[in-house]
């Protein structure tokens, strides 16, 4: 009954709800565009045509879109993983390390087991990656839940330990003797996702990622376990009083988060690289943390921001090809965009504050 009555007003209300995040993102993207134009102009190129050329490279045709998308898939999964833990109040900033061990696990299973049936082998690779990443994160989550070891710092430090461990493995016991150094043996063909758009690296991994996005969203926002995790995140005391085992919620949410980060790493191997090498995912973990922070840990927010970042990054690649402006432009832009996004409400508050004071002063004078 009530649903019938509220239905006519529901749509505008929903639109109004949507308007705020869209406005926020719009402001941030505008800031980024202005900065990009400024930086391009500084290098002596015409801003508008250059940016359009970059955008064409990112989104110009089907091949371009697939290329952009293919690059973004591992980042998206990793960012979702980070956001997942953030929602449960666990600041897992060890995405970089978990991504590396995931990539390493997938590369080991892909190269040393098999060849098997394509589907089974892939499944094993992904499962190995999820298990390793999840185990690492769950361990750190356990330390936080039971011993009170601050997970922000422990996950941060674990990054360096894990990346160095993988570097050791790739240079030492697992090194491919036919290659220079720092990479493992190539995985079997049955451990690679089939390409679905020719001339690009967009593979059937896309479907896996789509399923993962849906599953993560459901698990975090709609399931009972997700409710427990979110309550633990927003108010541990209340959650404990309601009978939720918060230690368990902390460990399990970290496990899921680490598993997603590990899966992100395995996608690097099984979708495009075909082997582990020491620079396989440099910086992706940190990008993922940024995306999770700015997407306010909501799966949809993270998805939107990951999309923005992918287009930005692909455009920067395109700009580099036509002008020689370094593609690191995208890192500069995303950092500034994110700072603009978080400083926006404060800036608006400050300006309205000034305006009010100024008006008050004028009224006094009159």
């Amino acid at each position: 009954m009530t649903t019938l009555e509220t239905k006519p007003t529901a749509l505008p209300h929903r639109l109004a709800l949507l308007a705020r995040p869209v406005g926020r993102t719009g402001f941030a993207v505008l800031t980024g565009a202005l900065l990009a134009m400024g930086l391009i102009a500084l290098q002596g190129y015409a801003p508008m045509p250059t940016m359009l050329a970059g955008l064409r490279y990112a989104l110009g045709d089907a091949v371009a879109v697939s290329r952009t998308l293919a690059w973004g898939l591992p980042l998206l999964v990793t960012a979702l993983g980070v956001a997942f833990a953030f929602r449960a109040g666990m600041f897992n900033i060890g995405a970089e390390g978990q991504l590396y061990v995931g990539a390493m696990a997938a590369a080991i299973v892909g190269a040393y087991i098999g060849p098997l049936f394509a589907g089974l082998h892939l499944l094993l690779c992904l499962a190995a990656a999820a298990l390793t990443g999840g185990a690492v994160a769950a361990g750190l989550g356990w330390l936080r839940a039971h011993w009170g070891v601050d997970e922000v710092l422990s996950t941060l430090l674990s990054n360096y330990l894990l990346v160095l461990l993988c570097t050791y493995l790739a240079n030492g016991p697992l090194r491919d003797p036919t290659r220079q150094s720092g990479s493992t043996r190539e995985v079997h063909d049955s451990a690679m996702f089939p390409v679905i758009v020719d001339q690009t690296q967009l593979t059937a991994g896309l479907y896996v990622v789509a399923a993962l996005v849906l599953a993560t969203w459901w698990l975090s926002e709609r399931s009972i376990a997700g409710y427990r995790w979110r309550m633990t995140g927003s108010s541990p005391g209340f959650a404990a009083a309601m009978g939720i085992d918060i230690a368990r919620a902390r460990v399990t949410s970290m496990a899921v988060s680490g598993a997603l980060c590990g899966l992100g790493g395995s996608l690097l191997v099984t979708c495009s690289q075909g082997r582990f090498w020491t620079e396989i995912g440099t910086g992706i973990g940190w990008d993922a943390v940024l995306l999770a922070l700015v997407g306010r840990s909501r799966p949809i927010g993270v998805l939107a921001w990951a999309g923005v970042y992918c287009v930005l990054r692909a455009s920067a690649r395109g700009v580099e090809q036509v002008t020689g402006i370094p593609s690191e432009l995208s890192s500069v832009l995303i950092a500034v965009i994110i700072v603009a996004a978080v400083a926006r409400s404060g800036a608006i508050g400050l300006i309205t504050d000034w305006a009010r004071r100024w008006r008050a002063v004028r009224e006094k004078q009159q």
Binding site: D150, S154, L157, L165, Y168, S331, V342, L350
Partner: protein
């Protein structure tokens, strides 16, 4: 100089950037705006140290200019965090990503090189020798022949330890973090205090970067801080606001870094040796958390709302 003396001297050399960054970050810990962007500021400091050194061919100018640039950047960061109420964790993380990207970007646009930039025109920080002191066995090479920034860092330790007891400014910084209302009631300016802490932090981190690029090497390489800023951050978190404890932690991390460089590859694979400072920090964190019943170690609270 025998092996032990060389090791001690290099230990102190490695301590310097950690200590400088830690001392800077300590002020932001007092105001509860812990700056997690140390890594990024150090990287920028290392880069601009090399740029200024290359441009003016003088180490002194490089030090002065880089610290001035650091102070200006700290002012911007402080305004973002204190006045515009942006979350310090988010802005700090963004700063790390920015530094990694921007230094590569500038390296390529200004010098047209990728990877690293070295040139004969880049000055290195001079080694300060103190005559006879350098000849004392064992501690001589530790006390003498270090870079000026090393001496500065230890002077700052003494100065800050003194300032904690005897100056108003440190009390304001601590009050600004612990009890802003009290500070306001006492006539202090909370915003200004928090901004000052960031300016101090950035200035010292920039110097830490200069020590890396001009003190230990005379070149800049991409990502040359390689986690040193995070090690300094760990030191700051462990020290619980105590200056002398911070110095002890920094020395511990500095010596484990020195050890990791000196360890023979026959003893240990280089990657395991490089893990040493991080492993020391992680084990230290676990031990510390086990021993304290308070939640004092948790001070990084990235908030979701802004």
């Amino acid at each position: 100089m025998n092996a032990i003396e060389a090791f001690l001297a290099s230990g102190i050399r490695f301590t310097t950037p950690i200590l400088l960054a830690g001392l800077g970050c300590l002020a932001t810990r007092w105001t509860r705006d812990l700056n997690v962007g140390l890594e990024g500021v150090m990287l920028f400091g290392a880069f601009f140290g090399v740029v200024c050194g290359y441009r003016f061919e003088s180490a002194a100018v490089a030090i002065v200019l880089t610290s001035a640039l650091g102070a200006v950047a700290g002012l911007v960061f402080g305004i973002l965090v204190a006045t515009l109420r942006a979350n310090a964790f988010v802005v700090g993380t963004a700063l790390n990503v920015l530094a990694a990207g921007a230094t590569v970007y500038l390296l390529r646009t200004w010098f047209g090189v990728k990877g690293s930039f070295g040139d004969e025109r880049i000055p290195s920080l001079p080694a300060v020798r103190w005559g006879v002191i350098g000849d004392i066995p064992l501690i001589g090479p530790v006390l003498s022949g270090q870079s000026p920034l090393t001496y500065l860092s230890w002077l700052l330790v003494a100065g800050m330890a003194w300032a904690v007891r005897h100056t108003v400014i440190v009390r304001h910084l601590k009050a600004g973090g612990e009890h802003p209302e009290a500070l306001r009631a006492a006539g202090g300016n909370v915003m200004r205090t928090r901004i000052i802490a960031q300016v101090w932090c950035f200035t010292l981190c920039a110097l830490a970067g200069v020590q890396l690029s001009l003190g230990q090497l005379t070149l800049f390489t991409e990502g040359m801080t390689s986690g040193l800023g995070f090690v300094a951050l760990a030191a700051v978190i462990f020290c619980r606001g105590n200056v002398l404890l911070l110095a002890v932690m920094s020395v511990a991390f500095g010596f484990s870094s020195a050890l990791s460089v000196r360890l023979n590859t026959a003893v240990m694979a280089p990657q395991f040796a490089q893990m040493l400072p991080y492993a020391v920090a992680l084990v230290g964190l676990i031990v510390l958390s086990r021993r304290s019943r308070t939640a004092d170690t948790r001070i990084l609270t990235p908030s979701q709302e802004n």
